[in-house]
């Protein structure tokens, strides 16, 4: 009992010294596109948190400002590059994405529901998997590398046309077992540091781990332009880094584990607006 009070008192002290709550601010892109960056927790996580919060609230004032204007958002350069690719024929069928789908804006509403169960394939698919399926089977073109430049740029284009729409992945029906596998991974303490996603992003968001201000680790902002490596980062690349940082043997981008984890983590952010390409440090 005595030990417990000592620890408790000490942690109270620590939290008053370096409290680092999410910043109180609102995100409006280009002066008119309102982004929901905090909202009531979806049912799947309502027992562990009241509110879900975008990673945007945990970044500094300049980083936040960059995301509020497309001219300042370096991620938008890659969206423009992907727009060209969208309209360019490739592969043995001589077709472009636009030949089947029309203008890229027609894809508004796609990003928020991925990862998504695909009935014909009998599997949960990420956006990347669906893009590669189109390339291989409809265009007769080579698959793109899962986290390569062409792929991440295309996911940025598809995210950008859905900006402001709420994340809304389905977790019931045939997707449920994949979602459960993702949940299991989220709470598994991996690596020699024995840390689960939940240790950092559920139990300690708002706190500092060395120089890093921990967010809820939401995926609504992906792909993310990181000032640290000055490029767009795919969500599985981020997962890979987070698992590696627990001194663990990490999983590969595109692996069944990361597909399941992406569905689960995305569901924890249902209700937050799509922000990609967002800006983070």
């Amino acid at each position: 009992m005595k030990k417990f009070t000592a620890v408790f008192a000490a942690s109270l002290m620590a939290s008053t010294l370096a409290s680092a709550d999410p910043v109180d601010d609102t995100l409006v892109v280009n002066g008119d596109l309102e982004i929901v960056t905090r909202t009531e927790a979806p049912a799947a996580v309502a027992d562990v948190m009241d509110e879900v919060i975008s990673g945007w609230h945990f970044r500094g004032v300049e980083t936040r400002a960059m995301q509020a204007d497309d001219f300042d958002n370096p991620g938008m350069i890659f969206v423009e590059q992907a727009e060209d690719v969208w309209n360019t024929a490739d592969g043995s069928e001589g077709k472009s994405c636009a030949d089947c789908h029309g203008a890229s804006e027609e894809m508004a509403g796609v990003r928020p529901v991925y990862p998504k169960w695909n009935e014909d394939a009998g599997e949960v698919r990420t956006l990347e998997m669906q893009i590669n399926d189109c390339r291989e089977n409809r265009m007769g073109a080579d698959k793109w590398k899962y986290t390569g430049g062409d792929m991440v740029n295309m996911t940025a284009l598809l995210a950008s046309v859905s900006r402001g729409m709420p994340m809304n992945v389905a977790i019931d029906g045939p997707a449920q077992s994949t979602w459960e596998a993702g949940e299991e991974l989220y709470y598994t303490r991996f690596g020699q540091l024995e840390l689960a996603c939940a240790n950092c992003h559920e139990d300690n968001y708002g706190n500092m781990i060395r120089a890093d201000h921990l967010s809820q680790g939401q995926t609504n902002g992906f792909p993310v332009y990181r000032l640290k490596n000055t490029k767009l980062n795919a969500v599985h690349a981020r997962f890979k880094g987070c698992v590696r940082d627990t001194r663990a043997e990490t999983f590969a981008p595109g692996s069944p584990e990361f597909i399941a984890l992406e569905l689960y983590v995305a569901s924890r952010g249902n209700g937050l607006s799509v922000e990609g390409p967002s800006v983070r440090n």
Binding site: K3, A6, V7, A10, S11, M13, A14, S15, L17, A18, S19, A20, T188, R189, F190, G191, Q192, L193, E194, L195, N199, D203, N204, N207, M208, I209, R210, A211, K240, V243, R244, D245, T246, R247, A248, E249, T250
Partner: protein, 157 residues
Amino acid sequence: MERKFLMILAFAASTSAVSAAEIAPSSVVYVDGAVETSLTGVPGDPENGRKVVSSKGLGNCIACHEVTDLADVPFQGNIGPMLDGAGDRWSEAELRGIVANAKMMFDGSMMPSFYKTEGYIRAGNAYTGKAADDTLGPLLEAQQIEDVVAYLTTLKD
């Protein structure tokens, strides 16, 4: 003559590498989370412990804890309690237990176990993202644990 000298040197090197008194990670005895016996029998060096606590490549304790005595080291985290006064709150044996394997003292603690080599899920080879091989050692050496404990006992209010 020369040969004898070399033999003595070789012997000295091997004894210091595997000190007879050193307790292996799997043999440490925890009683209510505390470890009574020194892991090495060699008194800890608080100066070196201070270094282990603050270095990113060693204990990196300040990733999670603030320590006023280390105010010169930037970016201290606040995941765990502040360590000021830890030497008043805890005995040496309790501190040794906390640093060696905090989960013995605090059930389910987020604090990593610094003197342990077994029971991991997908242990990696440091921060490479690759699997660990059979050379996987504890996060800190036995003497480094003793040094950290010696440093923590100096943290009095």
